[in-house]
């Protein structure tokens, strides 16, 4: 065992319970790691080292008194900064919420705390979750721990980078169009977007509420399961949440019928395609069927996603008028109309673009042309996938069609940036679970495999993922730092 901070989540809990090390020792190791690498990565917007150490000492005290330290006792969690944490600044990467301190914990935070987890800090993101690189964060971009000139993915870029670099044990991200899976893929870690409704969204600051879910980003499949079983569940504070069964780790992976989605391969770079094909061969080695299939409605998926996401965003972000919370701007010199517009001038470019597009597609005259069609496409796509899932257990493809890229490469062309999401939006539109697993490297840059399952079939996803993880053993530890 090289460093404590490298431990996986379940190893941390076991280690403390077996007396191999104390929670304080572990947390100190994590904090030291942050001190060593954070200036290169910029994963954190807010960091509460002192609070983390106090919590760790409390856990050690409890352990000494033979009290229950919880299923996540000692585990340090980084939280994407669009999830509400009581008394901890929650900015959404935006100037408009620069100093906003929530008075309540999101449901997932409450679940984590109740099980002994330590909330370490808030992680960087593209502003309000809109983006794929964290370049749209209004504070700073986060760097990819595998190569600091490259983006970590987004919008949960901080969550991906921090976990990969060992700056926290596990992290939570949110995924609206790929925002968990993209950084997981680019940072060579495991990221799961749950079935829509499996995890409560109470506390998740909405970008596109019919598409998004909170999910874990971890260094192993087992950790993903551990976190999922804690944060999932029907919640009275979220009418869209539903109850579901817990996930187990077991060795059943044979006889899964897997299909590769042809269109996702066709649209990918060669390096990506090669890796995905070789990974699919591995599935065959462990006893799974693997065929290639076509999904008819895929070329409409991304345009539908942007239509719907922008529409919802334009409405969800309307509340930011700086009256009840926000930054300091005295009202005296303004009329209400230009106060609102002046306040909202402080949104970043990408957020503004999406709000404007959202207003456009919802405005009278255009509603049936774009929004309604996108809704219909969504139903069609979901129906098509559900039909496929009657025949196949899992659908796979590359998470990202390209390798991680350098800062500034796509930021001047919004469409170029949007196209990065082309593989991931499918799962959000259809409301199905999807995971990204490390699958390999090209020139030292990570490539991820995406696996999708039918609604609430996370168990199948995990069965396949766990088996694959043990088979292909992809490196999880960046060399650079």
């Amino acid at each position: 065992m090289s460093n404590l901070y490298d431990l996986l989540g379940h190893e941390v809990v076991e280690g403390i319970k077996e007396g191999l090390f104390t929670a304080e020792e572990y947390v100190c190791s994590v904090i030291k790691r942050i001190e060593d690498v954070e200036s290169k990565l910029n994963s954190f917007i807010s960091l509460d080292s002192e609070g983390a150490l106090s919590s760790a000492k409390l856990i050690d005290r409890k352990f000494k008194e033979k009290e229950n330290i919880g299923l996540l006792g000692g585990v340090t969690v980084g939280i994407k900064d669009n999830i509400s944490t009581k008394d901890i600044r929650t900015t959404c990467g935006s100037k408009l919420l620069e100093d906003y301190v929530p008075s309540y914990d999101g449901t997932v935070i409450r679940h984590l705390k109740e099980n002994g987890a330590i909330i370490l800090g808030k992680l960087n993101l593209d502003e309000f979750g809109m983006g794929s690189t964290t370049e749209y964060s209004r504070f700073m971009p986060t760097h990819n721990p595998w190569n600091l000139d490259y983006v970590p993915g987004g919008s949960s870029g901080g969550s991906g980078a921090a976990v990969a670099a060992g700056e926290c044990t596990v992290s939570l991200g949110s995924d609206t169009g790929g925002s968990i899976r993209c950084p997981a893929s680019f940072c060579s870690v495991v990221g799961l977007k749950p079935t829509y409704g499996k995890v409560s969204r109470y506390g998740l600051i909405s970008y596109a509420n019919s598409l998004e879910q909170i999910g874990p980003i971890c260094r192993s499949v087992k950790d993903v399961v551990m976190i999922m079983n804690i944060i999932s569940g029907k919640d009275m504070n979220d009418n869209t949440s539903m109850s579901s069964s817990p996930i187990t780790i077991n060795d059943k992976s044979n006889n899964l019928d897997i299909a590769i989605i042809k269109e996702l391969i066709d649209g990918s770079d060669d390096a990506v395609t090669r890796t995905i094909y070789s990974t699919s061969e591995k599935f065959k080695e462990i006893g799974c069927e693997c065929n290639e299939i076509s999904v008819k409605n895929l070329n409409y998926a991304l345009p539908s996603y942007y239509t719907l996401a922008s529409a919802e965003a334009s409405s969800n972000l309307a509340r930011y008028d700086n009256l009840r919370y926000g930054f300091d701007l005295p009202i005296d010199d303004y009329k209400w109309d230009n106060y609102f517009t002046s306040v909202r001038k402080n949104f970043g470019e990408e957020v503004k673009r999406r709000i404007l597009i959202g207003s456009y597609v919802l405005s009278s005259g255009y509603y049936s042309k774009y929004y309604l069609k996108a809704r219909r496409l969504r139903s069609l796509l979901r129906l098509e996938l559900l039909t496929l899932f009657k025949k196949y257990d899992l659908l796979i493809g590359p998470t990202m069609p390209i390798l991680p890229f350098k800062f500034g490469e796509k930021i001047d062309d919004p469409i170029k940036m949007y196209l990065v999401d082309i593989n991931t939006v499918i799962a959000n539109l259809a409301g199905i679970p999807a995971i990204s697993l490390p699958a390999g490297f090209s020139n030292g840059l990570p490539i991820g495999l995406q696996i999708m399952a039918a609604p609430f079939e996370e168990q199948k996803l995990i069965d396949a993922s766990y088996a694959l993880e043990n088979t292909i053993n992809i490196q999880r530890r960046p060399n650079l730092i």
């Binding site: 009202i331 209400w336 517009t341 207003s359 139903s379 949007y418």
Partner: protein
């Protein structure tokens, strides 16, 4: 095609002020995005496609019970009486 007037209208109903730089480059950028989503025109307007929507039953809904949350919800711009002070209307 997004004209400068159309852009101004969208900014008005979204209550967003654009910087000079944004006012210059947004028309082209937004136009490209709209062109991109125009592909949706190819889809039929068939009303018979059932919108696959999430459903909830009446008995799963919240009971009519009062639960007051204590504490201040608003921390800025309060008058002595407790009103939230906002900018003037005109």
């Amino acid at each position: 095609m997004i004209s400068k007037d159309e852009l101004a209208y969208l900014a008005k109903i979204s209550k967003i002020e654009l910087s000079e730089d944004e006012a210059e480059k947004f028309p082209k950028q937004l136009e490209k995005t709209i062109e991109y989503i125009d592909i949706l025109e190819e889809l039929s307007s068939d009303d018979s496609i059932v919108l696959d929507l999430q459903e909830i039953k009446l008995d799963e809904l919240r009971d009519d019970v009062i639960k007051m949350s204590g504490g201040r919800r608003i921390n800025k711009n309060l008058t002595e009486d407790g009103f939230l002070k906002g900018p003037k209307m005109k």
